[in-house]
Amino acid sequence: MIEFRSVSKQFPDGTLAVDDFSLTLPSHQTTVLVGSSGSGKTTLLRMINRMVDPSAGTIEIDGSDIAALEPVKLRRSIGYVMQNSGLLPHRTVIDNVATVPLLRGVPRKTARTEALSLLDTVGLDRTLADRYPSQLSGGQQQRVGVARGLAVNPNILLMDEPFGAVDPIVRAELQQELIRLQSELGKTVVFVTHDIEEAFLLGDQVVILRDGGRIAQVGSPSDILSNPADDFVASFVGADRGKRALHVERRGGSDILVDTEGRLAGVLVAPTGPEASPDHRAPQ
């Protein structure tokens, strides 16, 4: 469990990136911080592994104040995945994945064996192990980034717009892969994005942020969709434009879902397969 208690961050240039932010992020769940640029979402994420230290307030992980922990040690215990993968271009895929275990003093051979099995976990072919990051596609690089984040088997996984720089098809694939991984691993995931669709897809708890890290609404995707707290949230999720209010129209023998403005949103089908569950991840 991660707890923010009245956390503020003012940068030396005077910008107040985060103003009196309090939130509890439950363990083994995915919390998505979503907001436009300037909402302080990345600053909040970076406070969790002490890349940024708050100017006021405290952050606790499982009840202990992280200000008392040594930053480097803390970072080595938390997985971190960022946009553009952040892989070291001069290290092979396998060495990139093994980076943090090696820093923690795991013997080279053990670290590499474990890294190979992590490639399986994130759905990468083992033949890619000896390539350099520049030899991989954007989607493959992001998978390596996720494998690196998981390499020390951390309880917490921080993800900073990890799928922001890949094309929509690959992004959808990576999102499904993350859902699969999370159902197997049950990490405490903190995910930052500006894409509300991504937030609703991945988040157990979604936090919609205004400027300065002020919380507009916290809740499950279905809570937020059915009860937007205010006009800001309604406009952010698109409810004010009728995007979220769907009705069924019978067209050409199919049940078509149409929004208030007449945009086609999808087709009504019976739930099938393993994804047919009553929660928000069921096909909408």
């Binding site: 592994n49 971190y80 960022m82 952040g86 070291l88 271009p89 390539r131 520049s134 030899q135 596609s137």
Partner: protein, 228 residues
């Protein structure tokens, strides 16, 4: 040509002398330039001071330098050490800016992600910044190597035996073949050291070689990803 065939021993000796005079300054200037370049890249104040000083250093004419160095260091006026020190100074002057620029060219995202996953202060420098600045450092070192080999010929003027001695001797005695041999050997030696550095780069910086191959592999990978 006959002069050359009958003086092969002399040419070989001068080439070796030249190598002994130019290799230490190349290595030393790299060793000194790395910490100075790091310092120049680290703080704004030190950047101004160090880069200006190293720029001025390169502007000092070599002949006066050969008289200043013995006075400061305490070597004898005709010691080859003077030349090695002078060439090291010139090499440092060139190399410091290259190191500073090379370190500054390291991708901020990569640096930040290295911090994020738990690299500590010095390990970021040794394991991330320095290797990533490698291609720039290598390019700078190649310039230093070639310019040092060329500058080392000046040693002949202060009595340090080198390929430059072939020019001075050839001029004094009017042997044109000797002058030409000196020029050709100097160029050849410069090319040899340059080639050695390129080879060293391929061994130490294998990922840069793969950039082109990588782009090819990438196209294949993309195609596979789309069809999958």
């Amino acid at each position: 040509m006959t002069w050359i065939w009958s003086n092969l021993d002399l040419l070989w000796d001068r080439t070796l002398d030249h190598l002994v005079l130019s290799v230490p300054p190349i290595l030393l200037s790299f060793l000194f330039a790395v910490p100075l370049g790091w310092l120049a890249n680290r703080y704004r104040l030190s950047r101004g001071v160090i880069l200006t000083a190293s720029g001025l250093l390169y502007a000092i004419p070599s002949l006066p330098l050969f008289f200043v160095i013995p006075a400061v260091v305490g070597t004898s006026l005709r010691s080859p050490l003077n030349l090695i020190i002078a060439l090291t100074l010139y090499g440092v002057a060139l190399m410091v800016r290259v190191v500073a620029d090379g370190l500054a060219s390291v991708d901020k995202d990569v640096r930040q992600s290295a911090v994020a996953v738990g690299y500590s202060g010095w390990s970021i420098f040794w394991q991330v910044e320095l290797p990533m600045a490698g291609p720039v450092l290598l390019a700078g070192l190649r310039v230093v190597a070639v310019s040092t080999v060329s500058l080392a010929t000046v040693g002949a003027v202060i009595g340090a035996q080198s390929l430059g001695s072939l020019f001075t001797d050839g001029f004094q005695r009017g042997i044109q073949a000797e002058i030409i041999a000196g020029i050709v050997l100097t160029v050849a030696l410069a090319l040899l050291l340059d080639g050695a550095l390129v080879l060293l780069g391929r061994i130490l910086l294998p990922w840069t070689l793969l950039a082109a191959a990588g782009r090819r592999a990438l196209r294949v990978a993309r195609a596979a990803e789309v069809s999958a």
